[in-house]
Symmetry: C2
Subunit: 127 residues, 2 copies
């Protein structure tokens, strides 16, 4: 991703879910999309996105945003000033992704605690 490369996996055609997860399943994409979704229709500047996605490095934010822009989910607008200001926003496609992500989030909020609890019991039984 950092290089802008994309792999064309055989399973991409066979399994759309896998294909999508290849794009949004990495460490930062879902958080960046959420930041831009929450801000919509307002654009958000690079540093501000970074502030709202705690922990992300400049390198990864840059790579994540470029990947999203490449896929047509995010717009990038450079304000011609010194120092430069770059504004990011969602395309219609990017905005539409908010629905599925919200569903995922809702399920996660309801069930991740149980998953964690189960995992801890499991680990304890192996200690």
């Amino acid at each position: 991703m950092a290089t802008g490369e994309r792999r064309g996996d055989l399973f991409d055609e066979a399994c759309p879910t896998r294909h999508l997860l290849d794009r949004i399943g990495d460490k930062w994409t879902s958080m960046v999309v959420k930041v831009l979704t929450d801000a919509h229709p307002h654009e958000v500047r690079f540093a501000e996105v970074r502030r709202r996605a705690p922990g992300i490095s400049k390198k990864m934010l840059s790579a994540t945003l470029r990947s999203l822009e490449r896929d047509g989910l995010v717009t990038r607008r450079v304000e011609d000033s010194v120092p430069p200001r770059v504004h990011y926003g969602l395309t219609g496609l990017g905005l539409s992704l908010g629905g599925p992500l919200a569903v995922l989030r809702e399920w996660a909020e309801t069930n991740m605690a149980e998953i964690d609890r189960h995992g801890q019991l499991w680990d304890a039984g192996r200690g």
Copy 2:
């Protein structure tokens, strides 16, 4: 994952979606869950899961199933025979994950073609 280890990322508490994607966003989990969801309420044996998730190695199938079992999404039942037969199925929790995954899949089926097309245009403009 292969070792059964789990990282406790700081963002897990802050972002449930990220937390969930840490579990299902890897290469095989979503496909394995889909196989078991499609088969439900019937259980599926190890080799049969493998057949329905083309390309997965024994190692990765083993690791993926164990991870899902650890998280309480999948049941594992060993039939006492020689050679052994091991049957996998979904728990209620695992079954409930089918909803969100179907939403993801639907969005992907509708939009991944456009994403790919956009990405190819982008790449062409950089060639």
